[in-house]
Amino acid sequence: MLRTTLGACLGALLLLAAPARAEDKLKVGFVYVGPVADYGYSFQHDLSRKALAEALPDKVETTYLENVPEADSERAIEKLARSGMGLIFTTSFGFMEPTLKVARKFPKVKFEHATGYKRAANVSTYSARFYEGRYVCGKIAATLTKSGTVGYIASFPIPEVVSGINAFMLGAQSVNPNVKLKIVWVNTWFDPGKEAEAAKALLAQGADILAQHTDSAAPLQEAEKQGKLAFGQSSDQYRFAPKAQLTAVVDDWNGYVIREAKAVLDGSWQSHDTWGGIKDGMVVLAPFTNMPADVKAMAEDTVKAIATGTIHPFAGPVTKQDGSVAVKAGETAPDPMILGMNWYVKGIDDTLPQ
């Protein structure tokens, strides 16, 4: 490990001492809220950085900051801007206000904020329709569960997570309207200890399939230890639990990042909002494993159907937990509703923490 670090540091130093041609390169910076090696959310963002470096090696130079807490993020982002970056990706929701503030100070630098909703002339936002992947997972879970109960490890009660839970449930209900969903909120994105505890609690309460919206592979590991099945999150975590992972909802930012960098290079960059799903290749489902062939076929068909628009996870009728109708039959939920979702669908017994 030391040798790799040594090599990497030497490489970095050499890069800094590169010839004058380096000044023509576009410097692209990435800010991650967690460690790159979480093999989850930040890992996937870093994969996109690496893909960018590989795709445009002569035109682009990349760097990153990891483990940036939200309280310190403004300074970190500004530091990147001052270090000559032309394009900066800030990859956590909590970086929203700091990104906007630094963007105001550096109008020539372009910023891309992931999972946020505020833009500016030089700030774009981008996110992925994770809920589409959750729908597929829900269908698989309902088909395969023997106990009729599925466990869900959720991080924070924000719309992105809630819409994921709802999509999962709707997918499950399309196979078995009586499936039960137990949800545990761990109030963290990445804490293997707590995630494992939550997994144990859910399995103890009768769940035999686990889904998660947290970043470590601990729940998968726990499921495998107990001979149960689970879904991975953000990245393909198959190698952590080869006997337990059914699939994973993988964030694929590569295409988007390369497109945006190219736009900056040829001068056509504009502030916009991107919310891509399976169709745009931003949400990918990891290879389906540990399931019978017919379930696999059903899953693959569902993926294709969502990509073509035949199936929409929030297609009406969708009833809220309190009985009111959120989406009428024949319609689909509009984007703002999904973006601001703070209610459960009918069939979930828990109360949403407010």
């Binding site: 540091c9 970095a12 800094l16 483990n67 309280a71 703070n342």
Partner: protein, 358 residues
Amino acid sequence: MRLDLVPRARRSPLAASLSPVLAFVTAVLIGGVAVSLLGVSPGAAFAVYFVAPLSELWSLQEIALKAAPLALIATGLAFCYRANLWNIGAEGQFVVGGLAGGWVAVATHGGAGSAVWILPAMLVAGTLAGIAYAMIPALLRVRLGVSEILTSLMLVYVAELLLDYMARGPLRDPAGFNFPQSVAFDEAARLPYLMEGETLHAGVLVALVATVLATLVLGRSLFGFATRVVGASPRAARFAGFSEARLTLAAFAISGGAAGLAGIVEVAGRIGQLQPTISPGYGFTAIIVAFLGRLSPLGILIAALVIAITTIGGEAAQIDLRLPLDLTRAFQGLLLCLVLGADVLTRFRVRLVSGATR
């Protein structure tokens, strides 16, 4: 073979001011070794950590912004520590101060009325909240003799959880798509910026004034004298008629108020809204600053600057040299260890004596 400590009759002032410098130099040398083990040239690392942050106006402002709350909290803590009252809960008092002041900002958000009293009200609310929160361990200690170390520490977690609950729940921005943050504060609820570049805000001035005030009280007032006596010799204090209970409460009030003020200054200055976390560990770092500065106001100021410079240098080192932030933390811990050890040399003469260990 044993280490014998012979107390010095007179504390040499030269040694007292040199020992932290010696400790610092030693820490830098050890850090240089560590850095070269990681494959980076110690000279380059030193330049990035200590020199580069001082060479740019922006990073100078950032250093001031980071050092100000540290100095403020540490000065307040010095009152407690000099009196042998171990207030470990500054982080919790910081959070509670930020929460209380932030609540005022949220409650008055969007109002059209006279806005000029909002900011002072926030600062007062934050300070009072910090004082009140510090009273809990203080009263428990005075009335029941409960160890203030543990109570103040436990209350840190309670404060953090309270802020988390409020930011995600009752104080959440109703128009914010249910994301866990409050509304962005109005202009009237923000501390104004001091110069171009929108970095340095008036909080630095508030912190400076409060620190100067606290220094004067500690050094020039009877109360300050009394705290020092209580810490050095409780018996003498009792003979002199200083009430230990009242002094305890006052010392905690001062340090709680200082921490609470620092909290609301951070929220109203830098952050501009309430979030589930508002402190990158200022309360705990301030304890280090207090000890690094050996509980003297000037020392605390210098120590706060050193910590601020190394933290900001550490962030630059992450970008320029790919050195991890943990290195900065380890360095700061090491520095404190060395300062504490070096401090012994000013109080005692250390002798290695042959013979049985006792």
